[in-house]
Amino acid sequence: MATPRIRQTRVLPGFGPTLGYTLFWLSIIVLLPLAAVFIRASELSLEEFWTAVTAPRVVASYKLSFGLSLAAAALNAVFGLTLAWCLVRYRFPGKKLVDALVDLPFALPTAVAGIALTALYAKNGIVGQYLDPDGLARVALFAKDSAIGQFLEPFSAKVAFKPLGIFVALVFIGLPFVVRTVQPVLEDLDVELEEAAVSLGAGRLQTFLRVIVPVVLPALLTGFALAFARAVGEYGSVIFIAGNIPLVSEITPLMIFIKLEQPDYAGATAIAVVMLLISFVLLFIINGLQAWASRRTGRDR
């Protein structure tokens, strides 16, 4: 679409002021703090910067933070889509309530979420006692040396205070992002399209893959990107359930917190800069994918 050269007339005026406010807001709310991070980090020499951001503990934390955030966003993409589908397509009692529940992770203070999840999954928690091989219920039901206990052993998952716990927390906080971005697109999607596809001889799977997925994909990728970005920066809910053992379960935001406590502000901002750069590159890739998907399906968001 080429931009028309002629001056457009609009019903409501205000391009100038709104653009002005947009730039002003973005500058003071987003760019200024980011610039401060870069300025603080530039106090370090290149060599100091490199040592700070490549320390083994820090590198381990990148792997954990980015790896788990991607995994959590991926899981959320699958179940978020399912949830949105169910909410859009079907009517059932309590639907409004379920719809409202989806937003809860947005509103809940993250520390509360973290403590609640930890209480649930710790080995004396409601769920944790069944998962933990030393948990109360597991021991009572299936002793370790019993046949069933031995059978269960390989499936034993300790959630709280292990990397798996971080994953659970990240899935929790990321869910609404996917549901809320996919939902409006599904609402716009006419059932007639599917009916047309089926009447033209497409199978169920074919209809899903070739009619629904292409339409939903850009929005799904946006939701994935948002959930991922949120997960990478998440601190409050993770810190309670993580265990925070060096090289095992320390997330990158915790490394920054520890540096700030030292106090090593420059070192902390150095890690923050690396985090920003990795996040930026990943989000750039995801946005590129999304643009590609929209182009291919001829659908602009």
Partner: protein, 341 residues
Amino acid sequence: MKQTKLLRSLLAGVAAVAFSGGALAAQTLLNVSYDPTRELYKVFNAEFQKHWKATTGEDLEIKQSHAGSGKQARAVVDGLEADVVTLALAYDIDEIAELSKKTKQLLPDDWQKALPNNSTPYTSTIVFLVRKGNPKGIKDWGDLVKPGVEVITPNPKTSGGARWNYLAAWAYALKKSNNDEAKARAFVGDLFKHVPVLDSGARGSTNTFVQRELGDVLLAWENEAFLSIVELGPDKFDIVVPPLSILAEPPVAVVDAVAKKHGTEKLAKAYLEFLYSPTGQKIAAANYYRPRHPEHADPKDAARFPKLELISIDDPVFGGWQKAQKVHFSEGGVFDQIYAK
């Protein structure tokens, strides 16, 4: 719409701050302290207000702020206007003096000489809190590294209490090995392999041990251990006092520059000195801190503190906080090396 709403709430916020600023004009004192002193200062402040009214006739408002010791020190440097600080370790007050030099030094370098006993009116130590009946038979530091024992302690990088824990373990290991530093390193390394969760503060660790029922032994401030037992019932936990531990000295100081600005110099000084008075000492002992003058404590309270060998941070094995901090907790220090592969 949304923006006007935001603007309105912002304005309301500004107004609220402005009004509370006005109310501060009466004689007030802000005591910036660390986490476990909540109960102590609640009692002490009430008593001091009575004392101040009786001696000067003035009414007085005392405000308290509690959080991790290091965080509080940084808040004071960054502009939290504390008239007095009562923190977990001398290093944090050193930091206030050092870091505030860039702008306006808040208190002198030799602040610790201002009051008797290294400016610490009460002391504490590090003890073990174990599950009732001590099922793992933990008696001394060496028992902590036995197979199958899980130890709960916060991260020394972020918690003042955890630094005392760590240094107490170090002192034990050095003594046991006749000052063989390599063996001491191996011991603390081994010890931290038995730690399944590193919380960032002492209260966090207490919760992990008590609420989540994780671990066999909690390394804790003696006063925190007593409080846990009082609050949660003696039927759940026992205190084990090792034969040797560290003399934890949580110091107090007037923040001179702030007190001068507020005109509270006399008040702040009197407040801290009252901690050394017979009343202050009695309150400290009642709240499970070891008083410098046990003779002023209620004999029942004084009897609660078992005798043990206590090593001071100024002992040559540590050489004071500045050195200990640098050797053990700085970037790449001994604690970092424990986790380096």
